[in-house]
């Protein structure tokens, strides 16, 4: 940025004054800011975010229950144990399922709703807010609400089943249906967020582009297909990014619904980490899971940014 002020006469008069006062834009002033303003953030971040990651890598070489100092060095055995656990692969598969549902169900739904609700009509804003509301509810509360919805004795699903004269299923208690039930809750909770991303993007589109397409004789569908959607590509890539990162972090929602069960059938990576590492204080084993998750997240974030979001 050019700074023309620096050459005005007023400046040349003022500068010596400032120097005399000893508080000009000098190195001293900058130095004071640097040593006062920066350290709190760097310290907190290093202490609670960066160091623990490094320590996870270190602890993952030990068989340790968290008390005293880690002494029982077992090398890469913890990683081997993790990779030999069937539940780990189930959790990984479930994370894959969540991503698949996010891309194949949630994203088209969010996009369709955004296209419908970006137009002005009575009730559009109210509907946007309604659809966004599940996103701000705590995942714990959402999970509890749906554990009621799915409850085989008192729940909504049970009541629908009974009205058809069928024996109500216990969806969350069966290895066949538990993950499916969790997936539905995920869509319920997060589609509104992605919809809002798309609405924000749609509103920032230059209307003259769509008008130009109309004038050139494009139908509604054509202008949607060839003008609007391509303009939304950056937002779609962003939405996919959030869906994948979100899936890798998913934990709170699973706990009230199934705790990862039955028989590990609905674990995500983080709930697997919680059930096998944290709740049993197996620090080394849990840290190994954490490191694997970390590597997956970072690799994914970097490749995705490199391949799909280079221009942003």
């Amino acid at each position: 940025m050019a700074r023309p002020i620096a050459s005005t006469p007023a400046m040349q008069v003022a500068r010596p004054l400032a120097v005399r006062a000893g508080r000009g834009p000098s190195w001293d002033g900058r130095f004071t800011v640097l040593i006062l303003f920066l350290p709190p953030a760097l310290l907190l971040f290093t202490l609670f975010v960066v160091l623990p990651i490094g320590e996870a890598a270190w602890y993952s070489g030990f068989n340790w229950n968290g008390f005293g100092r880690p002494t029982n060095w077992i090398g890469f055995d913890n990683y081997r144990f993790v990779l030999e656990t069937r539940a780990f692969w189930l959790a990984l598969r479930n994370n894959g399922l969540i991503i698949a549902v996010s891309l194949c169900v949630q994203l088209p739904l969010a996009l369709t709703l955004a296209l419908l609700l970006a137009e002005r009509f009575r009730g559009a804003v109210a509907l946007r807010m309604l659809f966004f509301m599940p996103y701000i509810l705590a995942e714990i509360a959402t999970g509890l609400i749906f554990s009621f919805v799915y409850d085989g004795d008192y729940g909504l699903v049970a009541s629908i089943w009974r009205s058809f004269g069928a024996e109500p299923p216990h969806l969350l208690a069966s290895t066949d249906t538990a993950m499916l039930a969790v997936l539905i809750v995920i869509v319920w909770k997060y589609f509104g967020f992605h919809m809002m991303l798309f609405i924000a993007a749609l509103q920032s589109i230059d209307k003259s582009l769509i008008e130009a397409a109309r004038i050139d004789g494009a139908t509604r569908t054509q202008s949607l297909r060839h003008v609007v959607i391509p303009l939304l590509y950056p937002t779609i890539r962003l939405s996919v990014f959030f869906a994948i990162i979100g899936s890798l972090q998913l934990f709170d929602l699973v706990m009230p619904l199934t705790r990862g069960g039955p028989a590990d059938s609905s674990n995500t990576m983080v709930s697997f980490l919680y059930n096998n590492g944290i709740s049993r204080m197996r620090v080394g084993y849990g840290s190994a899971i954490g490191v694997i998750l970390f590597v997956i997240c970072v690799t994914f974030a970097f490749t995705y940014k490199r391949w799909f979001m280079r221009d942003e």
């Binding site: 700074r3 002020i5 400046m11 400032a18 508080r23 002033g29 900058r30 004071t32 800011v33 640097l34 303003f37 920066l38 709190p40 953030a41 760097l42 907190l44 971040f45 609670f48 975010v49 990651i53 320590e55 996870a56 602890y59 968290g66 739904l109 609700l117 807010m129 309604l130 659809f131 509301m133 599940p134 509810l137 705590a138 714990i140 509360a141 509890l144 609400i145 009621f148 004795d153 909504l156 009541s159 319920w188 509104g192 809002m196 991303l197 924000a200 962003l238 990162i245 890798l248 972090q249 934990f251 983080v270 980490l273 944290i278 620090v283 849990g286 840290s287 954490g290 998750l293 997240c297």
Partner: protein, 282 residues
Amino acid sequence: MNRAETTRELFDPAVLFKAAFLTLIAIFVLVPLLATFLGGFKSLGELRVNPFGLPQHWEWQNYADILFSGRYWQLLRNSLIISTLTVVLTLIVASMAAFTFAHVRFFGSSMLLSYLTLGLLFPAATAVLPLFIKVRDLGLLDTYFGVALPQVAFSLAMSVLLLRRFFKDIPYELLEAALVDGCSYAKFFRYVTLPLSRPILATVGTITFVNSWNAYLLPLVMLNTDALYPWPLGIMVYQGEYSSEWHLILAFITLTILPTIILFLLAQKHIVAGLTSGAVKG
């Protein structure tokens, strides 16, 4: 749009289809929430036969019992303390760092900034075991700060990025002129930058508050005493105690999500803008 046009549009099949689709999704979103709210007014027996409809007999007792118990208020109080600590600390620490990154040129500035943004790449859960040991060794286990400080640390990356972007738009000439007039960086920060940045501070505050208010994993790992539990932990304990007395659990859920919903209805524009802008610009 006049009435004739509106009526004609109502019978357009495309419009009808659109309305039907939106209604369907609205029902999908609303029914679980309404059933939860109304379920709190039913007796357990009625819930079993009539989980959808209005209660035949309104049981105010379920809600009253919870509202007059100390437990509900204690949970909200704990959540409020932890969230407020987190928001205040995040705003102070992040805005100071963002100010430095926006206005002070120094060697390694961009390197340090990318160091901080590393925090965006992985979830807090990955290192939660070492984090637990660290918090324990610092003697902060089972304290509000033991939850709040890691939360601040994890919200820093996003907050610093959002704040810095905004601070950078404050004209450099303003800072230079102020410095020439003998104003210090700190005073400029306090009396110019911060007052000019209320919108972005509100946005960052909102994101941090919602995240902290809803957080489950960190308090779960860091707190052992029931008396310190924030509401997501408390409600899980409550559910464990009243395992199948769904009418009570539903009333409890309704009352605990009520503050969030009221806040959302009061400040919806702000919250939506905050949460989505945080995402977009992150």
